[in-house]
């Protein structure tokens, strides 16, 4: 057991810190994770493009495809330092989801067509998985794709599609064989969002943000060359991606950034003329929360260590998802408590409260409501517990 970093890794850390300092001068202010839901497309892409220019946009991709091929430790150093510095994160849909599916299961033409534009940020991807009738029970999905010559004709609906309003492309799980067993009739299809017959309808969520959408498909013609891998083998690729998604959803670094911000708030807020952070009731809750977070950070490290040794990591991502999402929600909860009455002007569906109360109180209640999603999306925490029960405990 050894927790220290090698001299090379320390050199790498310094390189990351230098890059962050430079990026901070170039990026618009307030791009950090807490405000993500309110960012414009350009805001999202500003960080992505800086990373791309540096050659750091795809830490986990193979070198020959334009990735960094960083070691697990390097990825960890990068994620930790950027979170500590309050930097934004890149969106996972292209880089973390469809990209790896394409370079793992796609053909050469698809790799050539799609991967460079994912890296550069020229194509914005969204994820077409959930449907109104297929949430936790994803495999019951019904978006129908029927082969018609060189095309598939797609009809049906996806929902909870994050930031589809910005997307150039959507990767979809479609049903190509309705007569087969549910898992065996699904295909993985890449669809141009500009195709005739696609309608995107916003869903406003509890913090007033348009973060998700419904996407409707009405006789949408998709070239058959946009099928990834084999027809009716899509569930295999979907599962590959889901395991990938889970571990990224509620990373400790996100809670760490939020907790750092919460401590700043707790120093600024007052209780009977003293900083709130001196209140034993509040500070004990803060400490208890951080204790859980510190354990989570080491749970993450242990899983990274396993990965670094080339061992298979699967059900562990469910542990991270459950523990990480619950901690993230608790941080947002304690932040609401910290700002007291100035939580109340926030998260009003009508908006327009941008100047009410201290700066640090803005968006706090909205974030609390927004983050109710993290125990629901990417496979609800109930589903994650089922996975652990079955795959780890053998129940």
């Amino acid at each position: 057991m050894d927790l220290s970093f090698s001299p090379e890794e320390e050199v790498f850390r310094q390189e990351v810190l230098d890059f962050i300092a430079e990026a901070k001068r170039e990026l618009p202010p307030d791009l950090g994770p807490p405000e993500e839901a309110r960012l414009s497309k350009d805001d999202y892409l500003a960080w992505h493009r800086l990373l791309y220019k540096k050659g750091w946009v795809a830490p986990g991709w193979p070198k020959e495809l334009g990735g960094c091929a960083w070691s697990v430790t390097q990825k960890y150093i990068f994620a930790t330092e950027t979170a500590k510095a309050g930097m934004p994160t890149t969106l996972p849909f292209g880089l973390g989801m469809v990209g790896p599916v394409i370079f793992t299961f796609g053909n050469d033409a698809q790799k050539k067509k799609f991967l460079p534009r994912i890296l550069s940020g020229d194509d914005w991807w969204c994820q077409g998985y959930s449907e109104p009738g297929a949430g936790s029970d994803l495999v019951s999905l019904r978006l129908r794709a029927v082969r018609d010559g060189d095309h598939y004709v797609v009809n049906g609906q996806k929902t909870w599609t994050t930031l589809a309003q910005y997307a150039d492309w959507i990767f979809c799980l479609v049903r190509t064989d309705p007569d087969a067993k549910p898992q065996e009739g699904i295909s993985f299809l890449l669809i141009d969002m500009k195709s005739p017959g696609i309608t995107v309808k916003p869903i406003i969520i509890l913090d007033g943000a348009r973060e998700v959408n419904e996407v409707f498909f009405d006789d949408v013609r998709v070239p058959a060359e946009n099928l990834v891998g084999e027809e009716n083998k899509g569930w295999t690729y979907a599962k590959f991606l889901l395991a990938h998604e889970r571990s990224a959803l509620a990373g400790a670094s996100r809670s760490r950034a939020a907790l750092t911000e919460l401590k700043v708030i707790a120093r600024a807020e007052q209780l009977n003329g003293e900083p709130l952070i001196r209140d034993p009731d509040f500070s004990r809750k803060l400490a208890a929360l951080e204790a859980d977070l510190m354990a989570l950070e080491f749970t993450e490290l242990r899983i990274l260590g396993k990965e670094a040794k080339g061992e298979k990591v699967d059900a562990e991502s469910s542990i991270l998802k459950v523990a990480g999402s619950e901690i993230l929600q608790r941080v947002s909860d304690l932040a609401v408590e910290a700002v007291g009455y100035y939580a109340l002007p926030d998260a009003a569906p009508l908006g327009g409260n941008d100047e009410i109360g201290p700066d640090h109180a803005r968006g706090i209640a909205g974030r609390y409501f927004n983050l109710r999603k993290v125990s629901i999306y990417g496979g609800s925490n109930e589903i994650q517990r089922n996975i652990i029960a079955k795959a780890v405990l053998g129940l």
Binding site: S130, G133, G135, S136, D137, S140, T159, W160, I203, I204, I205, L206, G208, V212, E269, Q270, L271, N272, G273, D279, D281, F282, V336, E337, G340, Y341, Y342, A343, L344, P345, D346, A347, A348, P349, L350, G351, G352, N353, E355, I356, G357, P358, A365, Y368, F369, R372, K373, S375, I376, Y377, S380, N381, E382, R385
Partner: protein, 374 residues
């Protein structure tokens, strides 16, 4: 021991419940909270006609001589329908403080409250005060026969709708001293009053208010209002506890209904034991919440009032949060949407958790009362 309502109380509840079902559906609420004003005063006039605004006030001033049970009945129905009308600041706070103070101002204002002619907001919180009612930097100075106010109040709920404000201010003593706290009534249109209006989390309206030499009339005794203020706020908390019962019941029913109809894995999700247990926990929380509300409301005139109310408030926050968070979780994505009612009931309960003090504040108040010499 009898927890049932009297005939009159049952009639009051049924009349209000019918009215709200007809005129204050969730769809109607969405529409009216989205208007620039955020409410429709027609409901206030109707409530006055139904006798709701007079129900808990003394008969001598045009009230119906009811008490905590009448307020509880009204608030529970309001909670079910997310009613935004300022019943608590006007009738419970304004009516309560004026009744306790008596005198000419009370005789002038109480009939107006009972008749629906006065709408009030309660301006007590300040940027630094958190939940301490005595932490005041707003000051009142004698001028002629009245007073003038200088200072600032935060998050004054319902202020954009009010024609009168009840304001706490210091007439003496140090910043957090109980001695020196006074309560005033002033007209919203008074000179030297400026406000910035906005929508709150629950789609109701609120204001930041600044007083610069604003004339005001004293309610009760100068510099000795803290006990009456605490009593009025305890009654307001008790009223909101009853409201929360109505709000929780809607979330509870919506969740159980959804779990019976939403199918995943070929069966209603309510068939999964993990969700059954979660809903059973919601139900137990609902029952405990109901008990906490009754415990506080039925003993408002007892010497143990403050401790009872704080206990119930702290416990209620825990139960309400458990029900609301589970309601969203069990609804899944659809529970996250602005369109469904669940989120708005959740938001109202979150607002009530903070209003008049967080759970920590009330647990500390209990502990401080326990530590006082016997």
């Amino acid at each position: 021991m009898d927890f049932s309502l009297s005939e009159e109380q049952t009639l009051l509840r049924n009349a209000l419940s019918r009215y709200l079902a007809d005129r204050y559906s969730y769809e109607a609420w969405r529409k009216l909270t989205a208007t620039p004003e955020g409410r429709d005063p027609v409901h206030w006039r109707q409530f006055a006609e139904m006798g709701l605004l007079a129900a808990p006030l003394p008969e001598a001033v045009g009230g119906l001589g009811g008490g905590a049970v009448e307020t509880m009945v009204v608030m529970e129905e309001f909670g079910r329908a997310l009613v935004v009308e300022p019943f608590v600041p006007t009738v419970v706070i304004g009516g309560g403080l004026l009744t306790a103070a008596g005198g000419a101002l009370a005789e002038e204002m109480l009939p107006k409250i009972a008749g629906g002619e006065a709408v009030m907001a309660f301006a007590f919180a300040e940027p630094q005060s958190r939940y301490n009612l005595a932490d005041l930097t707003t000051v009142a100075k004698k001028q002629g026969s009245g007073f003038v106010l200088n200072g600032r109040k935060s998050v004054v709920l319902g202020a954009p709708w009010a024609d009168h404000l009840i304001v706490t201010a210091r007439t003496g003593g140090a910043q957090r001293e109980e001695k020196g706290v006074s309560v005033f009534l002033l007209e919203k249109s008074a000179k030297g009053l400026s406000s910035r209006d906005y929508a709150a989390m629950d789609s109701s309206r609120a204001s930041e208010i600044i007083f610069e030499g604003t004339p005001a009339r004293l309610i009760g005794e100068e510099g000795a209002a803290h006990p009456a203020l605490e009593a009025a706020v305890d009654r307001a908390i008790a009223a909101h506890l009853a409201e929360a019962i109505g709000t929780i019941s809607v979330l509870m029913n919506a969740t159980v209904d959804y779990a019976k109809t939403r199918k995943q894995f070929g069966q209603p999700i309510g068939k999964f034991q993990v969700l059954q247990h979660r809903m059973v926990d919601m139900y137990i929380a609902q029952q405990q919440a109901q008990s906490a509300s009754l415990m506080a409301n039925l003993q408002l005139d007892d010497p143990g009032r403050a401790r009872n109310v704080s206990a119930a408030k702290a416990a209620m926050s825990k139960y309400a949060r458990a029900v609301a968070e589970s309601a969203v979780q069990i609804h899944g994505g659809i529970g996250m949407t602005d369109e469904l009612n669940v989120g708005h009931y959740f938001k109202r309960l979150m607002l009530l958790e903070t209003l008049y003090g967080s759970p920590d504040h009330h647990l500390r108040r209990m502990a401080n009362l326990d530590a006082e010499p016997q």
